[in-house]
Symmetry: C2
């Protein structure tokens, strides 16, 4: 069994097959760690260190003798020959699990990724953190008010959970930091803008929670622009549909995801967001030995809220994890000539933090907001954060942060010329 | 007062002048953090995370109203006009403290820095860590025994405290890691070689401790080559004086330091290691308003061991810190028209770890080795590690490491192509 990708889905498959002597499992990932991406926005805002949200894969699978790991970049899959081509060689498979997750979707605009930051892995989160701190250092010694205002403008495109959490975390980081450590700057000069192309933010949440989140964000000083579609970002200038523009020293793109580019190498028709259509048993009808799970899989049957027609399962960690368990069970079923089971999703709800000790959550149909929602968010994320050490370190970091408003991890790495080359081009 | 560099020396000047309303202090540093470099080798070997050994400067000076900080790269100093030229502008001064520390000394060989790693700041330590883990990942899937052996050869050039500590830490990291997580590799395939041009390692230590350290390192599997001068490193091939060569996937250069390049911009005659000769009051005779401290300052008067003629003060943190206090006092003395005091060094001794719970130390003339030396090393470093949070995190990391032999922070960042481009060129 070859597993492509050790994210939430791949890890569940690996765990379910671990320790069995009837299967040899080979895990391929381009990183040597499993990332707990729901906390990545905290790395980008210096609340957690990179090591807290990522865990070495070899340590996770340490004791399982039937699992091997290879750090490699998967290029494409040959369904007919049953081969996975990587940048370091070719791996044959009997069963394949595609769990390579998603990439940012720029909707065909090739210049946007060059001029914006994104939040899909540790390196990108660290890049945001370094750029943000570099903007403050530059602003602290910029005499021209207009240029200073551009340096202190932070635009987040896309108001899904990632955008909302990041906007809240930006406000949480910047307001006290400027007050305490950058006395040359006024907190009122900072502009944090959350831009959403659709009518409402947090599209997958109940209406009441959307409004609560917007109200809380505004209270924290975040400006929210709805019905505002960004058509271009270039040299620090954001262009909206209709032609209006604004200047910003920092633009983060969280406006959409699509399946990993590996999906396109199968030579098949792809569904919405370039996902691969799968059967209810999560494999391909013409290649039952190939399973696709998580963000890469397109399968309808999700019921958002009460009533309405079924939609595709959303691209979230919870779906990937449950699909991983189902795919592993179906591989074992095929091996033992038992019938495969269809995927059934147990919806645990969704949650999004807004800031320090504030969140909105919809759990089993119950809507929560404020401190109670934040506590449940904290509990859920601590339980799922893999590995004892990371859990302790994350809790300690938060406790410290909560008590002191201090942030560790505020180091600007690299030489300035390297880390913020893009930013300096803009000015 | 302008302070160039916020290392051990600069920080002491800053602290001594903090809170006084008769001096305005401006600190220039190209990083926004103070690094506790004596622990940097632990970052390179994944025992500590980068955030533990570096501390944001703005947080350190948070409450002092007379200190401002600018993150900038100092290009040169104009002694006549009393100006510091930086990459972001020009800063005038009444008093100047040059405390920019040291850089690696490659003794004029321009190709060595391109083909070796060094250990002078957080970025370099992280680069070593990522490269080392990448070598293991590549070796785990290398079928050719000869190429695998090259991937698993780690050469450290220079057996001063940095080289000795790094060699011991490499052994400590690699042996258990290979046993537990890289079952495809045998720990006996790893070669760690410590190369020293002179007759003895740890040149500044008493003879008996040098021998103890060498014996302990050998027991840990480190090969030691003395009287072996490296003349060239290129494409993974290390050439020794006399023409012998060897191949290695990783070469770390710790063989010498010289004063920061800023020293050369003063237009003065420089002493050994490109340091600036100073008076006993730590300022320049023709420019009494300019102080030079720490690694940049050349001043004789150090007595190594008993007897012998005085040498230049060594380039260590302790000298820089004591010089910083003296320079700050002499600036205040000049301001108040009091006589300046000459620099007096209180020698607290020297110490070097060898591995987990092992060290050699010479404190107030008492020679210690083994676990007792390691405990005193631990105590001294915890006391000096700046900032409460870092101290706790470092202690927790070590305790964890000590109890479990586990390492956090073993993440390979960046894409493989970027982090180990040099290594792949070599193969």
């Amino acid at each position: 069994v070859v597993i492509v990708g050790a994210g939430f889905g791949g890890l569940q498959v690996m765990r379910a097959l671990s320790g069995r002597d009837d299967v040899d499992v080979r895990v391929l990932d381009r990183n040597n760690y499993h990332g707990f991406w729901p906390l990545l926005y905290q790395v980008a805002t210096a609340a957690l260190t990179p090591d807290t949200v990522a865990y070495p894969l070899r340590q996770i699978m340490g004791r399982s003798c039937n699992i091997t790991f290879q750090m490699t970049d998967v290029q494409c899959v040959d369904l007919v020959q049953r081969l996975v081509h990587t940048d370091t060689g070719t791996t044959p498979y009997d069963y394949l699990v595609l769990a390579a997750g998603s990439a940012n979707n720029y909707f065909g605009n090739a210049s946007i990724p060059k001029h914006t930051f994104s939040l899909k892995d540790v390196d990108q989160a660290v890049a945001i953190r370094q750029h943000l701190l570099d903007m403050l250092e530059q602003a602290a010694h910029e005499a021209d008010a207009e240029r200073r205002s551009v340096l202190l403008t932070f635009v987040i495109v896309g108001a899904g959970p990632t955008g909302v959490e990041l906007a809240g975390a930006f406000a949480d980081l910047l307001q006290p930091l400027l007050r305490k450590e950058y006395r040359a700057l006024s907190p009122s000069e900072v502009r944090i803008m959350l831009v959403e192309a659709h009518e409402t933010m947090l599209g997958s949440f109940p209406r009441a929670l959307q409004e609560t989140a917007a109200r809380h964000l505004r209270r924290m000083g975040v400006m929210i622009r709805q019905n505002a579609k960004v058509t271009q970002v270039e040299n620090g200038v954001v262009t909206f549909e209709g032609g209006k523009t604004m200047k910003a020293g920092t633009v983060v793109w969280t406006a959409g995801v699509k399946a990993s580019a590996i999906a396109g190498t199968l030579g098949r028709q792809l569904a919405h967001a370039e996902r691969i259509p799968v059967q209810r048993t999560l494999n391909l009808s013409d290649h039952p030995e190939v399973f696709v799970i998580g963000d890469m899989a397109y399968l309808e049957g999700y019921h958002a809220g009460k009533g309405g027609k079924p939609e595709a399962y959303p691209m979230v960690a919870e779906v990937a994890m449950q699909m991983g368990k189902c795919a592993a069970a179906n591989i074992l079923a095929q091996l033992n000539h038992r019938p495969s089971a269809p995927f059934r999703y147990r919806d645990l709800g969704s949650m999004s933090t807004i800031g320090r000790s504030d969140a909105v959550a919809s759990i089993f149909g119950i809507q929560l907001s404020g401190f109670v929602a934040w506590l449940s968010w904290l509990a859920v994320h601590l339980v799922f954060l893999i590995g004892f050490r990371n859990r302790l370190a994350a809790l300690a970091g938060w406790a410290w942060d909560y008590l002191t408003h201090n942030r560790g991890g505020r180091l600007i790495g690299g030489r300035r010329g390297e880390t913020s080359a893009a930013a300096q081009d803009w000015m």
